[in-house]
Symmetry: D2
Subunit: 262 residues, 4 copies
């Protein structure tokens, strides 16, 4: 088993903001790669928004990706709709997706959730405590009961997402708010995990426990099944090929073999 | 309590197909209205795809709608994206949505689900049995254990929807397939119910039990709370207005009072 | 509509502890009754552990109860198993159940959840903030975004309950922990709500917002459907009474009309 | 990775009924073992109701079991409550559990579900079609879209279980009924799968596809995490050991270090 992991990063802040450039000299994607360092179960690469006209996400590349990790913030609007659609299709077929922090507002996450994915926020460098509420979940493997992050941006409820399949983590903020920090979903054959920490002005992605969550989530999201390509169309089952073959009893609008409406 | 119910109908088949015109002389929306006849809890109107440039779904009209019932099939692609976005926003704020039959492939349903919503189908006039598997659910009020429909189009699993909040009904088809025929979701403050029966070439919407499900679902989907208008933005909570007021401890990327990125 | 509400209370602390007696001179059940005061939708009564040999929960009384509110703590073990079984059956038939605070460890809650329902706790009179994360849920009607309780016992995650149907509230504690404070379930036809606040050494049940949650939850839990008495047995459907009548094709272990094994 | 799998079987029918004895000359447990034959990922053993006073389920044996497979029918009542409690505890700690067919009425399944787990049934040797509705789920690995079983007992909805975490399979019966045949749950750290086929009077457990489901489910249910032994108690967190150390502000009912009530 080798999990082909692709870290997608907006990579704009590092080029426009001195602080971010200093905190993440190899880019946030560089720091995220350290999550998998030395673990032979993973082959890791990255793609950046400005790599090329397809944001580094050609069909071929997505087809060769098992799990996609997504960080975006200031430039969600610059991601082309056609690429978002392409990524969604691969998720439905079985590619895992880890959405990080400000990625809650990315086009891809909003598309897969079907909700606004809004929240409250505050940038005050306050303490965050990420509590593991589902301790034997694969995403929690090897973690303590709580991850303490000295300085983070606050995200507060209500977080307008659909009811999660599983809530794995809830954060406690110094300023008084709470947030569902680690939640799972399945869309088609694709496993999705949203994970909260990672504001660009702080150092969450240098924190080994944060990186461990991301690696665990990548392993959890990996679906070894063959891509579910049959998820896209709605095929007709002719009456004479039904499990119980049938005579057509009523009028029909569609002629035999015709495609359905989309 | 009066539930302002709006039946949205594509209303194209009735004008191009003699059979449908004959089965539904008042349009399918006319037949659907009978679901609420004589019940003072409901005020019912309809809107049609070709009513006007907004498909009869102006902002004002949606703001005055508690529950929207949706039937579309051949012309999903003619519904404008801006109107779909507008409907989605009202659902998130709390408008209920009942999606019928071929509406599984409507833009609004696919947007709210975040999945392809594909299925198998066959048009053979076969028998459908809709089993109530959650008998004391409000949507099942007054129903027998099973609704038998003599002639219907078949829809078969896999139905590529997210795991439902509740599965209320499952259909058994003469030809051998099964289908989750009645499923609930919540997206934001909006209650959503998908209900399978209703192919335009048969008479499901003249069946009193089918109409009872639709009326029950309308009542269930009604959310009397004030619209959740706060669901759309992601507001900043300044550090000095936090529940526990804070000193800013770290660097900030955003200046005070600034809007977040979208 | 009148919701017949029964408040079940252990009522031991008030008799053995001066502090509790002073905080709740009419008993905690007396304070809880104030939640419904002046609202004609509710008829409210109480039953106490030591009322009689059946803890005030005769079959007749349960049959005449729409929603049961449960507070217990030190004497969970004194509740007879036969009575717990009786209450569970009524929940499955459709009686709503609101479990309060230390009721997480009651026999009835553990039986309906199928998990240990364990948690962490601390009795330090610290501040609790109950955040409403599902603001347009019926249980949140008329509430602010957060309920602040000056002094409460802490309950901390992991709370070993099954994944809730809906998570409505999450608490933030001064000492640093978080807790899913308001969660919903359905078991059979019965709606269940667990609500965290209410330690006997503090005054939560004199807080109008806490009482409002309890009243909202009672309304939400009310299932107007006729009791689902058919939930208890597993009836045989003879081959000649199947929807599609069948000839018996294989050997049988059971003779015709025989009851199944339990 | 080796998954220590224990097949628990009631093993009464084989001794009292000639037909069952003939269909399953090595016992149903013998047939079930074939599911894992030749696969080095599994070490498989069995335990029988009448093995010893603990039904072959000593604490030691359970502690050395990763996944327990359960078949029972006529003798559910003979399983001792203390053993059921012991099994439940191991499930909560992380042992997987596969419940087969008539095991829906076993004490352990009802305990973990918190519902009656009732259904309808008919013994007519009719055809069952088990549809895979979640095709890329690990439990569906390598399966066709539908498993056809020529002769089976019918189980019909409503199946009074809690809303599943995931519905993986739905059955279509010749006589007209439907049934949720493959459903998942998590209770504590334990993954649970209920799988319908397997009436003792027919040959389902000689069907390679049925056995493949059971093997897949065993793999899926396996939780490699260390047992969650902390799930059983509710520990106190002293005020001076809180994440944010606190002064005790209010009165206390418990003295320092005291155990909570159970």
């Amino acid at each position: 088993m080798t999990i082909r992991t692709l870290i997608w990063h907006e990579h704009r802040h590092e080029q426009t903001n001195e602080l971010v450039a200093k905190l993440y000299p190899d880019g946030m994607h560089g720091a995220l790669k350290n999550a998998y360092k030395g673990d032979k179960d993973f082959v890791v690469d990255h793609a950046l928004l400005d790599d090329d006209a397809e944001h580094g996400l050609s069909q071929k590349r997505l087809d060769e990706t098992d799990v996609l990790v997504w960080w975006g913030h200031a430039a969600h609007g610059d991601v082309k709709d056609a690429i978002v659609e392409r990524v969604a299709k691969r998720v439905w077929e079985g590619m895992g997706l880890i959405v990080l922090h400000s990625g809650h507002y990315s086009k891809i996450f909003k598309k897969l959730m079907g909700t606004p994915c809004s929240l409250k926020w505050r940038e005050a460098g306050e303490k965050e405590r990420v509590w593991i509420i589902n301790p034997n979940h694969p995403i929690a493997a090897g973690l303590p009961e709580m991850i303490e992050i000295e300085n983070e941006e606050m995200y507060g409820e209500p977080f307008s997402i659909p009811e999660p399949l599983e809530t794995v983590m809830i954060s406690h903020f110094e300023g008084g708010e709470v947030f569902r920090s680690g939640v799972t979903y399945r869309r088609g054959a694709g496993n999705i995990f949203y994970f909260r920490p990672g504001h660009e002005a702080y150092t969450a992605y240098h924190n080994p426990l944060v990186l461990k969550v991301i690696k665990n989530a990548t392993r959890w999201a990996y679906n070894p099944a063959k891509p579910w390509v049959g998820i896209h169309p709605s095929p007709n089952v002719p009456h004479d090929k039904a499990p119980n073959p049938l005579e057509v009893k009523g009028p029909t609008l569609h002629t035999a073999g015709e495609e359905g409406f989309r």
